[in-house]
Symmetry: C2
Subunit: 297 residues, 2 copies
């Protein structure tokens, strides 16, 4: 049978997978093909629109290099990345029900495109802003399990953009690492470090995803946030952000990553001596947040 009506082509593609060796791959591809064909049929996609889609994907590809992943940015801005995070979180929650007296785990959010492996390991209390412009902020708190017991020697990766909203990765091929580091919690689960109060910034919008956002009538901005990633023995890894409650765009994150439980009201402090002994000549902030990790499966 060579002849397919438009509405039968998708099923013909699916039928062609009768011998697919991996059942999960077959399941995912079946759903993908069904939705791809239903989409094209629903909107009666024209050849010109199809070609615009091909060209768009090709343009997305051209923006990708070692330091820029426009496909992830596309996924982020279409809410798909956050959906995958939410699905994964629900999966974890289904596997582990907190015991009486335990608290809910810290919520996850998107990794984003600016994680850079191999950041320096620094001692607690270090300042990773290294003279970069921005309002000084002291990040501090504990990493615990769901029952509140400290998690010692947890690795806490942190990274953010600078006061203008730019990450080191965006500053040219030879730019060094900046505003990122790895810390480890002490025996009491405590962490602390200095950086800047994160500012809102646009996701890179000089490429095809930026064009898409303008076509959608959307702004490209993310509210100010500090990226964090936690790894600790005996616990599930956690990738999340801490969001500045006072940041513009806190209600309209371009990548839909905000969760209420991750919004932190930064404390504002007059110039003077911070609790860790650092003396500041200008207004500084503090961000207090305790992370709660889920036990490993």
């Amino acid at each position: 049978m060579s002849q397919y009506a438009a509405q039968d082509i998708g099923q013909a593609v699916i039928d062609r997978m009768a011998d697919a060796p991996n059942p999960r791959f077959k399941e995912v591809m079946t759903a993908l093909i069904q939705h791809l064909h239903a989409f094209a049929q629903e909107v009666q996609l024209t050849p010109d629109e199809w070609m615009a889609g091909i060209q768009f994907l090709t343009d997305v590809a051209k923006m990708c290099d070692e330091k820029r992943q426009e496909f992830i940015l596309l996924s982020d801005t279409l809410g798909l990345s956050m959906l995958v995070v939410a699905i994964q979180q629900a999966r974890g929650a289904a596997r582990y029900q907190p015991q009486p007296g335990e608290s809910a785990p810290t919520e996850a959010t998107v990794l984003g495109p600016f994680y850079w492996e191999g950041a320096p390991v620094l001692p607690a209390g270090a300042n990773i802003a290294e003279g970069a412009p921005g309002e000084p902020a002291w990040y501090h708190g504990r990493v615990t399990d769901l029952g509140g017991k400290p998690v010692a020697n947890a690795a806490l990766d942190v990274w953010s953009g600078d006061a203008e909203g730019f990450y080191d990765l965006q500053k040219g091929p030879d730019a060094p690492m900046q505003l990122r580091a790895r810390f480890h919690t002490d025996a009491d689960g405590r962490y602390s470090f200095w950086s800047i109060k994160p500012t809102y910034y646009p996701v890179p919008d000089d490429g095809p995803v930026g064009r898409m956002l303008r076509g959608m009538g959307r702004h490209p901005n993310r509210p100010g946030h500090m990226h964090t990633m936690l790894h600790a023995k005996g616990h599930q890894p956690l990738i999340t952000h801490l969001f500045d409650a006072d940041s513009p765009y806190i209600d309209s994150d371009a990548v839909f990553g905000v969760r209420d439980s991750l919004i932190v009201k930064f404390g504002q402090h007059a110039p003077g001596t911070a609790p860790d002994g650092r003396v500041l000549a200008k207004t500084w902030y503090d961000c207090a947040y305790d992370f709660r990790l889920v036990p490993a499966a």
Copy 2:
């Protein structure tokens, strides 16, 4: 409202398009986002699978250059290209109902990734196989309107792979054009040219789309076909193929492009003199096909 449950994220993305300037873009993106999110939810897409998808698209991108368009190949092998052709054809049919006594127009099929603009314009009867290996075949027929009236001076572009199934575009960056040309119909709407009897061949399967096909348990082959594209004043353009009825894979084209009305039984002829006077020392074939074009809107 910052907090979205998994099932609400897609709608949040759609709501963010309230100010989209182009209603059609908004319509297409709304359907795309709905299906993308429904897909991820239905299969409960995992972070690893999501990353595999990102990596796959990135790999598809890396295969693209001036002469290879792996995104089109992806669309072709998922049946999307043929669906768009079928939708477009239905749209044309809805615009033009043949009058009593008129025949249905020639059906369209996919353009494919191997069209190369600027092929030489050759006189009727020319041999475009130019000594390339393969079984000689004489293509001949007429181009008419739906009522059977000849369409004179119609431009007929033709292209195919060689006897091993390779197109010129696949033979390295400096390979010259081969097995492609443009002809024009005479006052009686007639065309004719010599080429080879097309052979089945695999779509390029040394890249990520090939990996996908193997994962799907599918072969990569297309039945033998001659690509044709017609442009004529006062008529809608037509992109189609002529398929060899005796070719392997005629029932399982890797890109779902076969239509029953495009399958031609090639005539087989003993060595000797062809109707146009060419003397052949080996068995030769002929492919007789009349194209019927739809009037321009």
